[in-house]
């Protein structure tokens, strides 16, 4: 696909466009990393988009009242972690289905945010856009942070005992419990991590503009779930890789730009993405069955 694009549309991979693409991918990738852990642990998190929006508002408001950006960003990440921990508590300890819990927290967060901010943009943010650096430097900081998070997560999934526990829990929670692991702690943990990463994603997205829109993050949950699934994460748990998720983010993210370049009408974007999801999952299942 990428090769087709490169041939069909000279300029697609021109340095300008590539940079725009990369920086656009960064927040989605960070959130999708968290989602991958959630899905591998055989859960789902519908509330990441709403967490994302809440964290974006938190970082913006703190910067406006004079907090230094790094400190405000840390606060946003902790806010995300706390919101994720709430999901985790309900799912891991009250044993409620995660789709219901996170759907509920999604609505509560979204509507709560609307009531609080009335959809108003948050402006006048000192030294906020691109961390107060030049645009070029800022872009590389954003991309660099996303890349570092990705590398750390991929390493953790493979190299940490905790990563192994996530895969075991997702494969079979009861078997994991019988093996002396603590599936409850794993479930709680993946939600908290997903929340923290949603917070970080919100910061990476917010600094790309001079103001923060509390409606940012709408549809985010679907995009990141789609990226993980296209990348081979099985909703039935236990399977999925971060490299796969990276490819999923790249593939789905490129389509939007490709459509512009190919001069198709914009409304085709989501339809094509939907088609790709079906194709990816169907081919994965068929390949698995034939083995």
């Amino acid at each position: 696909m990428l090769i087709v694009l490169a041939v069909a549309t000279p300029g697609f991979f021109g340095s300008g466009n590539l940079r725009v693409l990369l920086v656009g991918f960064a927040p989605t990738l960070v959130a999708a990393v968290g989602m991958t852990f959630v899905i591998v642990a055989r859960q789902i998190d519908i509330s990441v988009g709403a967490q994302f929006a809440a964290c974006a508002v938190v970082v913006a408001l703190l910067v406006r009242v004079g907090w230094p950006l790094p400190l405000a960003a840390l606060a946003a990440i902790l806010t995300g972690a706390a919101l994720g921990a709430i999901n985790g508590l309900f799912v891991a300890h009250l044993r409620l289905p995660s789709i219901v819990v996170t759907l509920a927290t999604f609505f509560v967060l979204k509507e709560g945010l609307r009531w609080w901010r009335q959809g108003e943009l948050i402006r006048d943010l000192p030294a906020f856009q691109w961390f107060g650096l030049s645009q070029t430097a800022g872009v590389w900081v954003v991309v660099g942070i996303a890349g570092a998070v990705f590398a750390a997560a991929a390493g953790a999934a493979r190299n940490l005992a905790a990563g192994r526990a996530v895969y075991a829990t997702g494969s079979d929670e009861e078997a994991a419990r019988l093996a002396g692991l603590r599936p409850n702690a794993v479930t709680f943990g993946v939600f908290a991590v997903a929340g923290a990463l949603a917070g970080l994603a919100a910061v990476l997205e917010a600094v790309q503009l001079p103001f923060v829109d509390p409606k940012a993050g709408t549809g985010m949950e679907m995009r990141v779930i789609a990226a993980a699934v296209v990348g081979g994460a099985a909703v039935s748990g236990g399977r999925g890789t971060l490299v796969g998720t990276l490819l999923g983010v790249l593939l789905l993210g490129t389509i939007g730009s490709a459509i512009v370049f190919l001069r198709l009408e914009a409304q085709w974007e989501e339809a094509i993405q939907g088609g790709i999801i079906l194709l990816a999952v169907a081919s994965d299942v068929t390949a698995r069955r034939n083995r």
Binding site: A161, G163, D172, E174, A175, G180, G238
Partner: protein
Amino acid sequence: MPPLLKLTDVSKAFGGVRALRAVSFDLLPGEVHALVGENGAGKSTLIKIVTGAHRPDGGTLEIGGRLVTDHDPLAARGWGVAVVYQQPALFPDLTVAENIAIALEPPGPWRRVRWNARRARARELLACVGARIDPDADARTLTMPEQQLVEIAKAVGTDAKVVVMDEPTASLSDREVETLFRVVRDLTARGVGVVYVSHRLDELPRIADRVTALRDGELVGTRAVAETTRADLIRMMVGRELGAVFPKVEATPGRVVLEARNLACRAAGVSAVSLSVRAGEILGLAGLVGAGRTELAGVLFGLTPADAGEILLDGKPVRIGSPAAAVALGIAYVPEDRRRYGVILDLPVAANVTLAVLRRVSDRGFLNFRRERGLAEDFARTLGVKVPSVEEPAGTLSGGNQQKVALARWLATDPRVIILDEPTQGVDIGAKAEIHRLIGDLAAKGLAVVLISSELPEVLAMSDRIAVMHGGTVTGVLARSEATQERVLELALAKGVPA
């Protein structure tokens, strides 16, 4: 009178395992014909052939004097055969009346439901079996015996000529048993024949006319109950062949490692269990299906923590509230149903082996793959796991090899007590002998081994002592020298026999 049901020389094999060999069985109108046999004797297979769930490989099945071919569960209903399973299979979210209607009303998606008629019919049938149950109650709110009565009401409602009851009294109290017997006598008075499977030998003289015993898929004999004593029945049931050679090493057991005193857990249905196991000893845990052996293992391993009694480890009382706590105390449990719980099929063999000892193969949380591989390869070698590489997913291995991987995971924890739940279930003869050798080796190395097995010969051959369970408690502990199949079975079938 022609028999209602007649099986002639029926055989059935699953894979290479012969479940039934040329068994003949018949049922007369108005008769209760009991079917007895140990676990795996072929009772269930016989029932499933009658109900159409399995097709016989050889022999013939006649119902009402007519030869039945192309049998299936729906056709069985048409033939007038109804089954009451040990575990009632009601739809929990539907009402009692709806559950009964599903079995009785003709199928068809566009048929209009006559709610009042449906309810009235349910009420009538429930009265018929002497059950005081609200037809509008959801099935999930019923107790086990109530659910069983609903199942029987269903069978009555189909106007069945042949009613098969699989352990109907297993979960009933004495009073409920009386009600059930009355229902059964009502049925037979109307000319219905009842096939009655039961482990409670004491109740047979009160309800059954004839009894047929199966052993290892073969017919031992059919007798009139009036002329058969309990001892006769037990003699007919025991005497299974040994499936493989059991190289038992004589060991001198050391001090007591694990002891249970009056252990009970309501949720698991385990009560007043007292037993002990010594270092280097194999304690067999025998009993019929549903006696509470796996449940007891669950209590000892912290899956369903005990709510009364004591567990002592090395003489010190311990509390085992979770599997993680059990592992920390040096207790290991290799569960039954290894495909489901024993190994994680998606994960490589190496990861399966180290899953319970992740801390030992990692440095400050980081997995050390070389150490993991080394550990897994060591175990694969000593246990003889046949696998090209320990990086292969566990799902690709054969049953016997998966069992060895499950065993390896727990041996890696360096346990002091290991509970093995049906370790040779569904593995081939060769792997079975190997697993037996491994179990012997473990005991020889000083582990305290608890061996749960439904194969009586296996328990007898492997164990130093045998604890026999019935109804969630230990009914007796036999030393190796005094354990015979008869004595074990006597205790396993016991009702209130003092230990």
